[in-house]
């Protein structure tokens, strides 16, 4: 009898633990508080030898798309075109692994800002939302206060700045101010900032807005190094930090439970040669409770309801009104593509007003006539 009660107590205990665990996971599922995900991925380098920066950005793009964020929620900025560059021996491809194992460019890519459009001004306008009214939706960051945004920057940088396209720079102060503008306009719920440049940690030193977590590939005073060259393509394909980040993300799937602490462990000094850094003091939640898919994926929350929903009657398609039943008397025709006679006799429309022909001549004649009338005709011999 004692054994029986003991066993039943143990079973009860296990059951209670299981319930609590279930509640915990369910609670965790709803703990992040965001409803949509956005990503802003920027490559700031131009020229063929900076192939690796484009490959970095495209590999993050690929992972983010694979985990569920749609193209309409990704703002991809590539400063130069590597895939269809004439130096590329395999056009329409950008590889991340040696021996051309993985084509991160793919078949279904949508680049929103490309070439000369990738400037500091456009980047800051995208972040703060202050774009001209005619900007199309695919080029806007339409986030709200329940959006989790992933921002990834790569390129050449230094202590406190990041170089855009070899002609301008963005400083860490400007970036921090842009994030503060975003916070004050309630444009994000939580922000994850990843930067893969030399001395990347200097870029997140100046942040002061809440709910920002930042990762960088190297500390101040260190250089981020590139991973491996491909002999057929002739350039370095990826940077080390993003290479190991890509390897880490390839293991993540939409239901994965990995959290940020695993992300901080990506690329230790033995693999990366530089020391990756991170900053979490501005972030309100504990990084151990933040899932990777909170930023890299687009996990939607589903609300289950038991109520019955009443559907309305089916909507009938509105028939077009009787399409001009009356017989059209007008016959249309195509235009002559090169109407030579019409062109030759075409009078060019003058937009600026010119005095009528002969006006100046008539004016001078009038002046001369008046002069000779007043002073007599004998002065005429001085003219001729």
């Amino acid at each position: 009898a004692f054994l029986l009660t003991f066993l039943s107590a143990i079973i009860m205990l296990i059951f209670i633990c299981f319930c609590v665990h279930f509640q915990n996971t369910a609670g965790q599922f709803f703990s992040s508080g965001h409803t949509n995900n956005w990503a802003v991925l920027v490559c700031t380098s131009r020229f063929w030898f900076n192939y690796r920066h484009v490959a970095n950005t495209l590999s993050v793009y690929r992972s983010v798309k694979r985990l569920g964020i749609p193209d309409s929620h990704i703002v991809l900025m590539l400063a130069d075109d590597m895939a269809c560059n004439h130096r590329n021996p395999k056009p329409a491809t950008v590889f991340s692994h040696r021996n051309m194992e993985l084509n991160v460019y793919g078949d279904d890519v949508e680049v929103d800002y490309r070439g000369y459009e990738v400037t500091v001004e456009n980047f800051l306008r995208v972040l703060t939302g202050r774009l001209p009214p005619s900007t199309p939706r695919s080029k806007r960051l339409l986030s709200d206060d329940r959006s989790n945004i992933l921002i990834y920057l790569t390129g050449h940088g230094g202590n406190g700045f990041l170089k855009f396209q070899d002609s301008e720079e963005i400083s860490n102060v400007e970036l921090a101010d842009a994030f503060e503008q975003m916070w004050q306009k309630r444009r994000y719920n939580e922000l994850l900032f990843i930067i893969d440049t030399c001395q990347g940690a200097s870029m997140y030193e100046r942040f002061y807005s809440p709910n920002i977590m930042a990762l960088a590939s190297s500390q101040v005073g260190e250089d981020s190094l590139s991973h491996q060259p491909d002999l057929a393509i002739g350039v370095h394909l990826m940077d080390r930090y993003t290479f190991y980040l890509l390897e880490f993300l390839e293991d993540i799937h939409p239901a994965s439970k990995s959290n940020m602490n695993d992300l901080f462990k990506v690329c230790p000094k033995s693999q990366c040669v530089s020391t990756p850094g991170h900053r979490t003091d501005l972030f309100l939640r504990d990084p151990g409770s933040v899932l990777i898919t909170d930023f890299f994926g687009s996990v939607r929350k589903v609300e289950i309801t038991m109520e019955a929903i009443h559907l309305t009657d089916p909507i009938l398609q509105l028939e077009d009104g009787p399409m001009s039943e009356e017989v059209q008397e007008k016959t249309y025709s195509y235009v002559d593509q090169l109407p030579v006679s019409e062109i030759i006799h075409q009078k060019p429309k003058q937009k600026d007003w010119h005095p009528p022909d002969g006006f100046i001549l008539g004016l001078w004649t009038l002046i001369l006539l008046v002069f000779f009338k007043t002073y007599g005709i004998k002065h005429l011999k001085h003219i001729f």
């Binding site: 131009r46 020229f47 075109d81 895939a83 269809c84 395999k90 056009p91 329409a92 491809t93 460019y105 793919g106 078949d107 279904d108 890519v109 949508e110 680049v111 929103d112 800002y113 490309r114 070439g115 000369y116 459009e117 001209p132 005619s134 900007t135 199309p136 939706r137 695919s138 080029k139 396209q165 070899d166 002609s167 398609q317 028939e319 399409m323 001009s324 017989v327 059209q328 007008k330 016959t331 249309y332 025709s333 195509y334 235009v335 002559d336 593509q337 090169l338 109407p339 030579v340 062109i343 030759i344 075409q346 060019p348």
Partner: protein, 596 residues
């Protein structure tokens, strides 16, 4: 009178309006009615129609030219008050663009590579390198420039291209070229805008949204062949979108909107063909065809076999009994036709892989009658000369051509040095329209109607001077150079074969793009190469160098002078050596006077 009628699916009308009868019939559309007589109209013609075709033309140099044409016809009115809301085959994004900006015609093309007319002949649809956009607006538009600016921004979002760089510095308003290709009442060139971006790159990110505009996407029909890895590994790639109103039938009392998407690609013998003169669908596109697009009313493949009447030069497999003739580009060509809507085309293996294998490499190429080149002459970074050379290869006929040149403002043209010479003699154009440029606002526009004598070379030269740009106006890579857009030459070339002026006869799509008004000539547009000119580029590191140098000079020169003038000197006791220090210390303890 009772009679049974089978009701077809679709609209039907009652001769006598009978409330009760109508109420009943609405309820059971498919049932058999046995009461009042009803006039049954047959299934109404579907309002929209989609056709796809692929034309493959083997070129004389061993390359192969493939042209895809997708056409959607839709009978609707975008300009009426209540907006169109039900889109089926016509893509919604383009329909909204047309109605919002009151566009009458829209032509946009993205091209990578340059079309080599002398080696490849004339293309079915010409396009210049880079991006080109020309639009005819409706008469009801009051501010054409504002509509143009917004339209370019919207299109840059749709096609993922940087079309937002089109602004007043590269937009022109041609006065005689680019007449509308569709139905129109009258042509007022105030509503026409033309711009070209020769620097624009075309890659998969432009092909992806283009493919999404097709009704079947890239999942069925001919569009499954469009794989970017093969398409961009080619000598020439061009994708275009053309929207215009067209006649519906021969009487042309009603118009419908036509959307044509074309894709032209030329595969090179050595890079894609591995040197072997044998082409197949799999070799070109790395795919074969398994079915036609279910939404298409016609889906055909045409292979140009005019040069191969007895199969002595190349062999085509699988064989097909269908042959068709069409007059295209002034020549009567014969085509072998594969109809993909018939199951028999796919054979027992359920897939179609056309194979063209060459047996011998003889054969002459038809020399194109009109051909043009352009280059920059001169030396140094101050002045230069633009030469446009036009070749008329017809042995005895002369014909007029309209030359359109749009040169950016930073190349200051001197129009008084403009010369047009043919066969060494002066050739005065019968029409010249020149609009001078305004710095940073407007480019040069030069349009000339020149008569090309038979079998001659006409050269147009104009001198220019390069301007200095402000240092913020340079691109991030200024040493690459600056592009000048292609010249456009529009001409009515005499045709050796009578052209078909009947616009609505069943013609293959590729031969019915340019409307034909007379039988003896056909309209053709030739684009020259874009030019790449170097502008005098400053050394962008100079501001930094100057600051460093000035600060150093000021610090060293003035600083030392200031120190000399204001520093005062004091005599200082030298520090005693260590031994003396210890001795003094011991003496101090002893109370004895210290050493000096």
């Amino acid at each position: 009178m009772h009679s049974y009628f089978w009701l077809l699916i679709g609209r039907w009308e009652a001769t006598e309006v009978d409330e009760a009868a109508l109420g009943d019939s609405a309820a059971d559309k498919l049932g058999v009615r046995a009461s009042d007589t009803f006039v049954l109209t047959p299934t109404p013609q579907p309002k929209d129609d989609f056709q796809e075709e692929l034309v493959i033309r083997p070129l004389h140099s061993g390359d192969i030219y493939a042209s895809f044409q997708f056409r959607t016809l839709w009978e609707t009115d975008f300009m009426r008050e209540n907006k169109v809301s039900h889109y089926r085959l016509f893509p919604k994004s383009l329909g909204q663009v047309i109605s919002k900006f009151s566009v009458r015609e829209l032509h946009i093309s993205f091209t990578q590579g340059y079309w080599r007319t002398m080696q490849w002949g004339q293309p079915f649809l010409p396009s210049p390198p880079g991006a080109e956009l020309w639009v005819w607006f409706q008469d009801s538009v009051t501010d054409v420039d504002a509509a143009w600016k917004e339209l370019t921004n919207v299109l840059s979002g749709i096609f993922c291209a940087s079309l937002n760089f089109i602004d007043s510095t590269n937009t022109v308003q041609p006065s005689a070229s680019f007449k509308p290709l569709g139905i129109v009442n009258e042509t007022d060139h105030r509503f026409l805008r033309y711009a070209t971006l020769p620097r624009e790159i075309v890659c998969t990110e432009n092909l992806t949204p283009w493919k999404k505009l097709l009704p079947c996407g890239s999942k069925a029909g001919l569009a499954v062949l469009l794989k970017s890895e093969k398409l961009f590994h080619s000598s020439f790639f061009s994708q275009t979108v053309h929207i215009r109103p067209v006649c519906q039938d021969r009487e042309c009392k009603t118009t419908s909107w036509e959307l044509r998407q074309t894709l032209n690609v030329v595969f090179d013998l050595h890079t894609s063909g591995q040197g072997k003169r044998e082409w197949s669908l799999f070799k070109m596109f790395s795919r074969t065809l398994t079915e036609a697009c279910p939404l298409a009313s016609s889906s055909k493949i045409y292979i140009d076999v005019t040069d191969n009447p007895q199969e002595e030069y190349f062999e085509l497999s699988p064989a097909t009994p269908l042959l068709s003739q069409a007059v295209v580009l002034g020549d009567r060509r014969t085509f072998s036709v594969y109809d993909l809507t018939q199951q028999v085309t796919f054979g027992t293996v359920r897939s179609l892989n056309l194979l063209i294998r060459w047996k011998s490499t003889e054969g002459d190429m038809l020399r194109p009658l009109l051909h043009a080149e352009r280059y920059v002459a001169g030396y140094g970074l101050q002045t230069g000369e633009i030469h446009t050379v036009m070749y008329n290869n017809h042995p005895f006929r002369s014909f007029p051509v309209l030359l359109l040149d749009s040169v950016p403002w930073y190349l200051r043209l001197y129009i008084h040095t403009l010369t047009v010479t043919s066969k060494g003699k002066d050739n005065t154009p019968s029409y010249i329209h020149y609009q001078p440029s305004k710095d940073r606002m407007r480019p040069h526009l030069l349009e000339m109607l020149v008569q090309l004598p038979p079998h001659s070379v006409t050269e147009v030269t104009v001198q220019f001077e390069r301007a200095l740009l402000k240092w913020t106006e340079y691109t991030p890579d200024p040493n690459h150079g600056f592009y000048v857009g292609s010249s456009v030459i529009s001409a009515l070339v005499p045709s050796s074969v009578a052209m078909d002026t009947n616009i609505t006869q069943e013609q293959p799509l590729f031969s019915s793009f340019f409307p034909c008004k007379e039988e003896s000539s056909y309209f053709v547009r030739v684009y020259t190469e874009p030019l790449l000119v170097n502008l005098p580029t400053p050394d962008f590191s100079m501001p930094y160098n100057v600051i460093c140098l000035t600060c150093t000079v000021v610090a060293v020169g003035y600083g030392s002078l200031y120190n000399l003038l204001t520093r005062s000197f004091q005599i200082e006791e030298p520090n005693p050596r260590l031994a003396k220090k210890i001795a003094n210390f011991i003496r101090r303890i002893r109370g004895v006077p210290l050493l000096s």
